[in-house]
Symmetry: C2
């Protein structure tokens, strides 16, 4: 089914790209066949992760950044992950509107990720769609994620630069709430910096970051922006460029490629392993036999799980 | 190591409970041995999930609710999951302060979950700590989670009643942003209901919920609260009680127990399966051989993953 789109895809037809992304999103063998087919063309794009809580202004920033990059490159891709909708998996109406500048530009390809039923599925899907946009010839790709949970941690393996978007708030929030985000940012954006205490927030953030030991020798930058008005965007583009140069000088680009590939293999292998497990006749039989014992309290769920895995008799030849 | 605490735990020593929870949190065989040992005592507590975005007031609500329940029951447990800190895994300072009423009561046991490195790990850990509090004799247990991602979906399997905490905002937010939360709530709390448009927000929410087909015959309730002042707490306790009665009348309690046990077995089995996989000598060898081929583009990560899983030679006897 996907074969009909491949030639048009490689010759730059956006409709073919869109169809292939839908196939990838559905997953299964067909989606994997697409990813196999495009893999030789993947790896040229510079990938930028954009993370931050709802309302921080991620979409506005990506909108302005995309338009800014488009003055210099031919194609920009955007993959927006929306985990606030684990069930319906729809894109945010608000984001659609805020992205309207970028939407009017045929050189900017925007795609929202619908949930595939798990967070691992979401991050895998986001990375896979980014691969399609990469093979399609995108020079720069943005991956937008909401700044909570472990999603960022997984997406981080696949991006070159991570932008963390914050908004000026009460000072103690910096210390407590955002501590998870502190560790992953290469560039910190203080958006809505024209708010009261915007300057002080940026200063506090800089002081905090200075107390940390720079990871792999990179000291994160802080850039104040007012995204809706385009304020601070040139400075932000410059900061991203500085991080990119840093990576290039230090072998960081190749190291990120290795990490991303290792991570991808591991994620895909684990999914396949689970599929094999739950589709194995022996497991189904063992579970049917064990479950009543757990229900009546004779066995704990942990005992049952141990016996279930043992029913596969892996490891006999290994270890 | 845990054996020394078991007797004191079952005789009601909170220090022993705390030690056992630390062992469970560390996981591994020792943690599992604790969970095996307490399993016969697990299942008496009524579990309430509390979910909502940062700043919605979940901690204040749990604080007031705990104190309210404590007038009628002997022991209340609280497990707070904090996925905003995937790396440091610490509890929020702010939450600690907001929970201070409850903290002064020896009948209320509060525990924050530190991250175990993945979202699956987090939700598993939260459920396991709830099990310890359950076996310790808690009558009611609150599980607090942040309202994004798939965490709620997983925690949901283990709770009887899910409270979704919202805050009055611009009307369109209800439709877009919260659509993932719409499906999981048994009771919706409009907290900070004394804000402008608080009444209208609650009305809009009710109208929206009325358009949905009630899941398993339960139509979600909407309760306005002003948690910091204790406003609406008796009404909320009443709403939770009504959902509990509904479950009792319809066999929902037993059905939830079955779902929770099935889910637990599956999660534990998948973790064990992955451990077996990555510790298998054949997998390590296969990965060493395959990875250079992926790096030089001769094989895609998907091909590599397929070959990796095939190296285990599972499924030969199954299928």
């Amino acid at each position: 089914m996907h074969e009909q789109y491949m030639e048009r895809f490689f010759s730059g037809d956006p409709l073919a790209a869109s169809r292939l992304m839908s196939i990838v999103e559905r997953g299964a063998e067909e989606g994997e066949a697409v990813l196999d087919a495009i893999f030789p063309k993947v790896g040229r794009a510079y990938r930028i992760g954009v993370t931050g809580l709802t309302g921080a202004g991620k979409s506005s920033l990506i909108n302005k950044l995309s338009c800014s990059y488009r003055r210099e490159v031919e194609r920009v891709g955007v993959v927006a992950v929306d985990p606030t909708s684990p069930f319906s998996g729809g894109a945010l109406l608000g984001d659609r509107i805020r992205m309207s500048d970028a939407r009017g530009d045929a050189g900017i390809f925007i795609r929202s990720v619908a949930s595939r039923g798990s967070e691992t599925g979401l991050s895998a899907c986001a990375n896979e769609l980014a691969d399609v946009l990469d093979a399609f010839g995108s020079d720069v790709i943005f991956l937008e994620t909401i700044g909570v949970g472990q999603l960022e941690y997984k997406v981080r393996f696949s991006v070159h630069t991570t932008l963390v978007v914050l908004v000026p708030e009460a000072g103690d929030d910096i210390q407590s709430l955002k501590s998870g985000l502190m560790e992953i940012g290469d560039v910190f954006i203080v958006n809505k910096a024209d708010r009261a205490h915007g300057d002080r927030y940026a200063d506090d953030l800089r002081s905090m970051l200075e107390l940390r030991r720079p990871a792999q020798g990179w000291r994160p930058l802080v850039v104040p922006t007012v995204a809706v008005k385009g304020g601070g965007i040139p400075e932000l583009v410059d900061a991203i460029g500085r991080h990119k140069s840093f990576l290039e000088r230090n072998g960081g680009i190749e190291q990120k490629r290795i990490e991303a590939l290792r991570n991808r293999i591991a994620m895909v292998a684990e999914e396949k392993l689970k599929d094999l497990f739950w589709n194995d006749r022996r497991i189904a039989q063992a579970l049917d036999a064990l479950f009543p014992e757990v229900l009546n309290g004779a066995k704990s769920p942990y005992q049952a799980a141990r016996e279930l895995v043992a029913a596969l008799s892996i490891g006999k030849q290994g270890g």
